[in-house]
């Protein structure tokens, strides 16, 4: 019996290691790629380490692309994403609280509409959003992206689940009986307990904003306003390693190592947020399950 348990455990660990290689391998490759030159990437074993010198050269090549356009893209991504996230949290947390813990006519309808809107394809809304933004003269400004990014129904739904399952209802009831106004109840009971859900909503909103392709492509006027997500395919198209016609004109600086480095820059912020927010994220994600 014990031996069989032991055997199962070994097999499980082996399987898990295989999958760990699957999930982690590409990331290792990505991190090592900028340390090699384009031909080294092709000719050497995939997970070989190049040199720090090459890494520096790759970085320089990438940043010199059209006058540190990549850094501009990074800045844009940060502005759009953080701005959108701030707005999303500002709206979603109170809304989730209101849906979960207060009464008002239309509460259930609001919830239903929220669920439906989550399924509407983003493509369908791009033109209407563009026309709306144009009506208020916001096209080409950061607001044309921050405002739509701030609309985060999934965040509202998460907050709703969180508040309705983690805040003891008796507590709220008692506070109300004690005479605290609704705002007081929210401020003194819900908000202090809301750190995990704020972190969770902020995280999901940030990742969604950072990875959004469609809307920024439509709402911006030129290269210098793109976020990184839209810029990456542009880089791809101007790389002779991928698109041979880009070799004409002699301006090509983007080869495979530079592409890999651009990708690293594109994911670094989200990755950092992932790492730091790990614990709070997991706590928040599980909050809904503990009350089942």
């Amino acid at each position: 019996m014990l031996a069989r348990h032991y055997a199962y455990r070994i097999i499980a660990i082996l399987i898990l290691l295989v999958f760990a290689a699957f999930f982690f391998g590409p990331i290792v490759w990505l991190l090592l790629a900028p340390t090699k030159t384009d031909s080294q990437i092709i000719n050497q074993t995939p997970l070989a380490f190049g040199s720090f010198g090459t890494f520096g050269h790759t970085f320089h090549q990438l940043i010199s692309y059209e006058g540190d356009l990549v850094l501009t893209w990074l800045k844009n991504s940060a502005i759009y994403s953080f701005g959108g996230t701030a707005l999303a949290v500002l709206a979603a947390i109170p809304a989730g609280y209101g849906l979960a813990l207060t009464h008002f006519v239309g509460r259930r309808a609001l919830l239903a509409i929220t669920l439906v809107v989550m399924i509407v394809p983003a493509t369908a809304l791009v033109l209407p959003l563009f026309l709306e933004a144009n009506t208020v003269h916001l096209v080409g400004t950061v607001w044309s992206l921050i405002l739509p990014f701030g609309f985060f129904p999934f965040g509202v739904y998460l907050a709703y689940i969180y508040f309705s399952t983690t805040i003891p209802k008796d507590l709220i009831g008692a506070a109300r009986i004690d005479g605290a106004g609704e705002w007081g109840v929210f401020r003194r009971i819900a908000l202090p307990l809301a750190t995990p859900i704020v972190a969770l909503v902020a995280f999901f909103s940030f990742v969604a904003n950072w990875n959004n392709y469609y809307l920024p492509f439509v709402m911006t006027y030129d290269n210098s306003q793109y976020p990184l997500q839209v810029g990456l395919p542009i880089l791809l198209g101007s790389s002779p390693s991928i698109n041979p016609v880009a070799a004409t004109g002699g301006q090509a600086v983007i080869y495979r190592p530079e592409m890999a480095m651009a990708t690293i820059i594109a994911i670094a912020p989200v990755l950092i947020v992932f790492l730091f927010a790990q614990r709070t994220l997991v706590a928040g994600m599980l909050a809904g399950s503990t009350k089942e």
């Binding site: 502005i79 701005g83 080409g140 921050i146 908000l191 002779p240 390693s241 002699g250």
Partner: protein
Amino acid sequence: MKSFFNLESWRGRSLRNRVALATVVVAGLALAVPGASTATTKSSSKPLIVWIDTSRIPYEQAYMKANPGANIKWVIYNGNENGTGVLQSKFALWNRIGWPSVAPDVMFDSQNYDAVQLGTAPYNDLLNLSKYVPASVLKGYAGHSMSACTTPSGKIVCLRNDTAADVLWVNQGLYTKFFGKAPVPTTWSGIVADGQMLKKSHPGYTVGDIGDEFDDDFIYWGNGCPLDKVVGANTVEIDPTNLACTKINNLLDNSGLEGNAITTTYVFAAGGFPAAKVVMMVGPLWYGTAVFENGKKAPDGVPNGTMAAYPPPLSVLGQPITGALGGGLWLVSSHSSQPAAAAALAEYMSTSPKVQAVGVDAGLPDYTPDQAAYVGAFGSVFANPVTSGKAWETAAAEVWNGWGPTPWSTDAAWASTVVPGVTATPPSTLGKQMNSFALALANDARLAGWTVKSTSKCINSFGGSGC
């Protein structure tokens, strides 16, 4: 019961929350600046806005050197590359809301087939240049190349920048070594014959390739096979059963060279077929600098003075025509507030020797008066520079005008139907993939709302049921 109204701690916490929120909001409001960050020239009159891609930066520099202080705002974009449709999407949106002041007056477009689409319904966004550019200039472009700029109703909606006509590239040293003083082939059968000799005696070398994403431009366009032939307004002929198509397919498929002396590996970027082992290859003019160039630019290049350009082979039906791959366009917006100035700028970029002579990598000018100077600038880059230059000029005039312009990319259809087949193990043949290629083209045409004319049962059936 624990008191949850411990004012000190809750007030402190919520105050911190409030301050944090307020900071974010204030920071957000401070960000309310319009997004465009490219510097504008300081002038009271509105600058001309020109969109170019990175490869045209030397053009911008040449222009500003020749016209210092010109009131122009140069904006870099991706050149509408590879079907990204940047111009199409921007025009579609602007047509609905009105063209903003940041819209470009002049644009460089790297896709040859865009102009007629953007200059006709539903877009209709390009200026009719026949009113602004003298007829003598319009006649100065190589061969029939301006057909890509002429709408069915006769409007001229673009000016050609460079021509990317296909020539026969030959590695002079290798050729002399293997074939001695024999003249370079002038037909596709000649190329195949040379390839068969190489396969027997000197394996490992190639005389061509069919595995790249755009070989249809050499193989079908260059042989007059009607797969993209505009025969009327919004009407295209797609006829894979045409004699030209079947003849070239049979020649290549029966040569015994596919996968061997006709490689199915791409020749381009590092990792493909080594450029140094190419004895000859039909390819566009700019292969010279992009594929075969000196080792310090491309990882697998060949030294200067190795490659020579020869006139492209006659088509399988004996016609002196050739295909092309690339070459850009200069477009002028019909919504420009300064149409005359914009048209003049486009004409200058397209025809001025100062601009067109820039750099060996940019490609042969399509405007013939500029070609000689450009060719002369090559010096030692190519073997036989004089004959190479002549070959280029000949090829530029021979580009067949029976291929496009249609608002879809034939290369994309080729890449999704033929390339997977011929690069597979075991490889398929061109003949076997022909119907699916033609069908993909027909589907693209029908998606765009065009009528397809064909004698092929396969193309005329719905959903390819007759294939």
